[in-house]
Amino acid sequence: MQLILQLVLDGIVHGCALGLIAMTFSYIYVTTGIFHVAHAGILTLGGYLAWYFTGVGVPFPVAVAIAVAGSAAVGVLIQKGVYEPLMKRRSTPLVQLIASIGIVAVIQNLLAIVFSPNVLQFEMLPWRKSSLHLGSLDISYPQLLTVIVSLVAALGLLLFSSRTALGRRARAVASNRSFAEIARLRPYDVYVYVVAIGAGLVAIPGIFLGVDQALQPYSSLGLLLTAVIAMIAGGVGSLPGAFLVALVLGVLQNLVLAMVPGRWSQALTFAIFITFILMRPTGLFRIRMQRAS
């Protein structure tokens, strides 16, 4: 029982990080219509930026802020430099996707070249190994931070999307792009904001997962894939849906580990997903599919 509870707790932590990834991906996907695989690259980049700045003596919170800003900047660069020209040329989604795959390869390998392809740890943060005891359960400080910051960021994104003028403009653009162009909502500006916000926020799980576990240049694609599964299962376009399903997936993956040997767990998740998507392509929470096209 103790083991199960601890696994659930760890699963919640992992799920929160996953949830933020799923939410930001969903936000970008629904608004711009781009299957932004390069999101995985930014996730990794955030962690490495924070590692670098912490390493040169910048206080950790400042390093986090720099990493978030840096990731957002790279997001803008990708949108302005690659996606926008492609969208203006009305290239097919396939072309945009291939470009995005190319970007992940560039980011990941650039990180491997600059920071070495090996596993890196936040050696300079001694507190990352301490943990809080909740009765018989343990939660490490990085885990605790992951949960808090992810929740705050997720909530922030929800509020932004529903309460601010820019957020509403983004939703208008998402619901009908050609209309948005006619209505002078300047969709291309909106895209830049949305990608920047998504990129900045996705740096957060990248950093805290890195502090908690370790950084490696190539591991993020699997995470993103799970997040995308969460997005689809949660109903494309529903931000809370994406977060919730991601949370459930995180816990489920950990619990599955308790039942079957670990080496099958990832394959099992995908197998379940593929069956699911065949049965119910619209997701759990949405009946109508809201695909940006």
């Binding site: 083991l3 596993v119 190994k129 576990q213 370790a214 308790a258 040997p261 670990g262 080496r263």
Partner: protein, 371 residues
């Protein structure tokens, strides 16, 4: 696929043109030269090790050539990069044999060596393995000789030691890579034979850094000790163990050393590898290294064995072919090395293995075992 075919076409094209070109130019030099091959991970993630290995071979080769070669024959080594990938290893092997016509090859990396072993048998090429440890290498090819102890030897030593000194209830923690799975199987066999029981058997995905769930399950099984066989960043494992309450004592083999940051006591095996102080000084001067790395030592020592076998063949006036190199090794059988006498009863050398005890306070050698 197209890529492979292309590689093949190009290789074949070169295979027909190059030898002709080389032949005319090198005819004179060829008479007094013996060419050997080395397929090492010179680029890629294992490049660090590959370069150490290359230095070891080159050091020994330069030394023997400086002393006039082996009975007047200079030694030349052709290095091929495998990146530690078996498919590139096969290409490298074919290039060495078909293009450079070598009859003896130094190998590295378990998967590369395993992949090329059948080719060694097919083409009768002598392969010397000073580093790869997977147990399947024991019988992979009659032409493959291992100068290092294989994983199963180390595992059986540590399993026996643990059964006697640490307890009868073991857990196994391994990764889904080939080495991890092999070691798990071998440990299970050896430990059950020594009268123990396995209470938990948990794997982590190769390359995954979220180890907690698996570590938790190990700790929850409450074994007397856990056999650790996973390569994911040693520091990461140590860190996450430190967050698991009551994690058991760990044991392992040299493959997973150095067990960095482990907050618990670790017992592990280590194959003893030494060179003379003089050699080490010379080596460090030549390559500007602070100390002679493990793999440099092993490859330098293995080169000595290779040279000795060649010397034996030349002395007997027999041609240096793969087949002859192999028979000669078993005819010589025992070699004097800085690690003491190494003898070959089988394809794998008998070596001295140490058991080290590692506590957060420091390292002690608790036992030395020759097997």
């Amino acid at each position: 696929m197209m890529k492979r075919i292309r590689i093949r076409l190009m290789a074949a094209g070169m295979a027909t043109i190059l030898p002709l070109a080389l032949w005319s130019g090198n005819a004179a030099a060829q008479a007094k030269e013996i060419v050997l091959g080395a397929m090492l991970p010179l680029t890629g993630s294992a490049a660090q090790i590959g370069l150490e290995e290359q230095n070891g071979i080159q050091f020994a080769t330069d030394k023997v050539n400086a002393a006039g070669g082996i009975r007047g024959y200079k030694i030349r080594i052709v290095y091929e990069d495998t990146q530690g990938k078996p498919d590139l290893g096969v290409l490298a092997f074919n290039r060495l044999v078909d293009l450079h016509q070598v009859s003896g090859i130094f190998t590295a990396y378990s998967s590369v060596t395993l992949a090329t072993a059948p080719l060694a048998t097919r083409k009768k090429v002598f392969v010397l393995n000073p580093a790869a440890q997977t147990s399947k290498l024991a019988t992979a090819s009659p032409y493959l000789v291992n100068t290092i102890s294989l994983a199963k030897d180390e595992v059986s030593i540590i399993a026996k030691y643990a059964a006697e000194k640490l307890g009868k209830k073991a857990a196994v923690y391994y990764d889904s890579g080939s080495v991890g799975i092999d070691l798990r199987d071998e440990f299970k066999t050896a430990f059950l034979a020594a009268g123990g029981t396995i209470v938990a058997d948990e794997a982590v995905e190769f390359g995954n850094t979220n180890l907690r769930p698996t570590l938790l399950k190990i700790a929850a099984a409450k074994p007397d000790f856990v056999f650790m066989a996973a390569t994911t960043g040693p520091g990461v494992t140590g860190d996450q163990i430190s967050q698991i309450p009551d994690y058991p004592t760990a044991i392992g083999t040299s493959f997973f050393a150095p067990f960095k940051n482990y907050p618990v006591t670790v017992y592990h095996t280590l194959v003893k590898s030494s060179v003379t102080g003089e050699t080490e000084k010379e080596f460090n001067a030549k390559f500007k290294t602070p100390d002679m790395a493990f793999f440099s030592r092993e490859y330098a020592n293995a080169s000595q064995i290779m040279f000795k076998v060649i010397d034996y063949l030349l002395e007997k006036g027999r041609p240096v072919t793969g087949e002859n190199l192999r028979t000669a090794l078993f005819e010589v059988k025992t070699f004097d090395t800085p690690n003491g006498k190494i003898s070959f009863d089988t394809n794998t050398a008998r070596r001295e293995v140490e058991i080290h005890k590692l506590t957060p306070a420091g390292r002690t050698v608790v036992e030395k075992i020759a097997h």
